[in-house]
Amino acid sequence: MLPYARPTRLAAALILTTWLAACHSDPITTPWPPDAPGYRSVNVQDEAALGVTASGMMAEIGCRPLRGTPDSSTIALRLVPPRVTAFQCRGVPAERIRAAARAVRQLVLANPRWASLESEAGDGGGGSGYYVYDHMECIWHAAAPPEYGERINADGDFEVYVLVEAQLGRCDWMAIFRYEAPGGDADPGTGTETLPPGPTTAPDTCRSSRDAYLGLLEQKWIQDSLNAVLLESIATDTEIAGRILRDPWTGRLYFQRGMMDPAGTDNCRFTMLPATGLPGEVIAKWHTHPNADNAIVTCRISGKLGRINTASNGGGSPEDWETVNGSGIRMYTIDPDRMYRLDPGLHSSARISNPNRWTRVPNGCAIPLSE
């Protein structure tokens, strides 16, 4: 066990209490689904996908990727080392932050590869292994960041932390702590942690969405994945694209985020890089439109200004339709209001009446608009 001084413990407790009070510890109104259905496909994704998935999960509760200087609403999640992603959670109740962070962590632990990168077993001094991880917190109202302390984490486990690095920010200090939690806190690689009791109202399927193409949107985890990516797309004001794959032998579906070419990707366009070693055939592609119809947008790359109007274009830009027609592969698009499926072969004059459109329902099932 690491040594620590009582005054420092008190200071740490005071800081933690202040932090929690500032974030308003409201009860969670929407429990996390039992097996995070929106993120079931993570085992085929790469490290970058963890970033988008975690960002999407955080965005769902109102936390956005940090831009600029951290402030008192900043929290950070350590993803795959050395990556630490910071989020701003203005006005988000602390309980929701903790629940989301726990879900992200559960996601990491469920993946052996990530878990092995995330954690390392150590000797906590008491004979049992300690789970070591870094965590960044914004500390304020303090002359100096605490060097070490203790806290009860979201899992209810006792943790000890020591200061690894601190830097002055808009808040008094941005500190990166290394936590050492008893082995019972986590079992890297096994994914044995259990999540809180799941909701009874959230359906596992979205049959009501009625997607005639392989019933893809009738699977809630696919809608959840699209919604999660959209939230990051909105937060970063950048289009994101990917593929839906099917293993020809098992029929298993995978939701994959593509690697984007940053030079050709902005709020109005995307350039998805080719992928190899995919675990199945590409049965559909998808991409996000971060802006809803009627939004006035200046495209960052082209500099052109305009008012978005994709709904009356059938859910896709002329280029989207050309891509679909050229490849013969269906394309799902999602924007803050709607989801669309672009099928190949639709004449340009018929796009406006594209029947494959849905009203987007965050955390729920999209509603068909063709009825």
Binding site: C299, S302, G306, R307, N309, S312, P318, S348
Partner: protein, 145 residues
């Protein structure tokens, strides 16, 4: 007339028309000349259908209003075919987009406004268009679809 002169004349007779043909096959955009697009083209069909949707479908009333477009019967929404007007529209598009237009101009009169696009001018994946007043001097709104 010498043999050489006859040969030259013969060459002119043979290759002269081809020279003219070659000159005529030069893309109009290289000359900076705009003309109205063929209304039967796929892009034109898509653009006209899009304009009709925005202007006449009550579902998109908010979009229509935000683009400063009047409500006009669908039957009046047809592609502009007056080449002189298309040349002027092309110049107006060049002026606003600050880039050369292609040869084909897609434009639809919507009441007193003219909604125009050039299929080669895009903003990312979106087609970029402009709604002008009838004199083509004022930009009423800009569209991305």
């Amino acid at each position: 007339m010498t043999y050489a002169t006859l040969s030259t004349l013969g060459l002119l007779l043979v290759f002269g028309p081809m020279t003219v043909l070659v000159q005529r096959s030069t893309p109009p955009e290289a000359l900076g000349v705009a003309e109205c697009a063929d209304s039967a083209s796929s892009f034109a069909c898509g653009f006209v259908a899009f304009v009709r949707q925005v202007v006449t479908n009550p579902e998109f009333a908010a979009n229509r209003e935000s683009l400063y477009l009047a409500r006009v019967p669908a039957s009046e929404l047809v592609l502009v075919t007056d080449n002189a007007l298309c040349v002027r529209i092309g110049k107006a598009l060049e002026r606003e987009f600050k880039q050369p237009t292609a040869a084909r101009i897609f434009a639809v009169r919507v009441g007193a406004a003219i909604w125009a696009e050039d299929s080669t001018i895009t903003a990312g994946e979106f087609g970029a268009g402009i709604v002008f007043d009838s004199a083509l001097t004022k930009v009423l709104s800009r569209s991305l679809r």
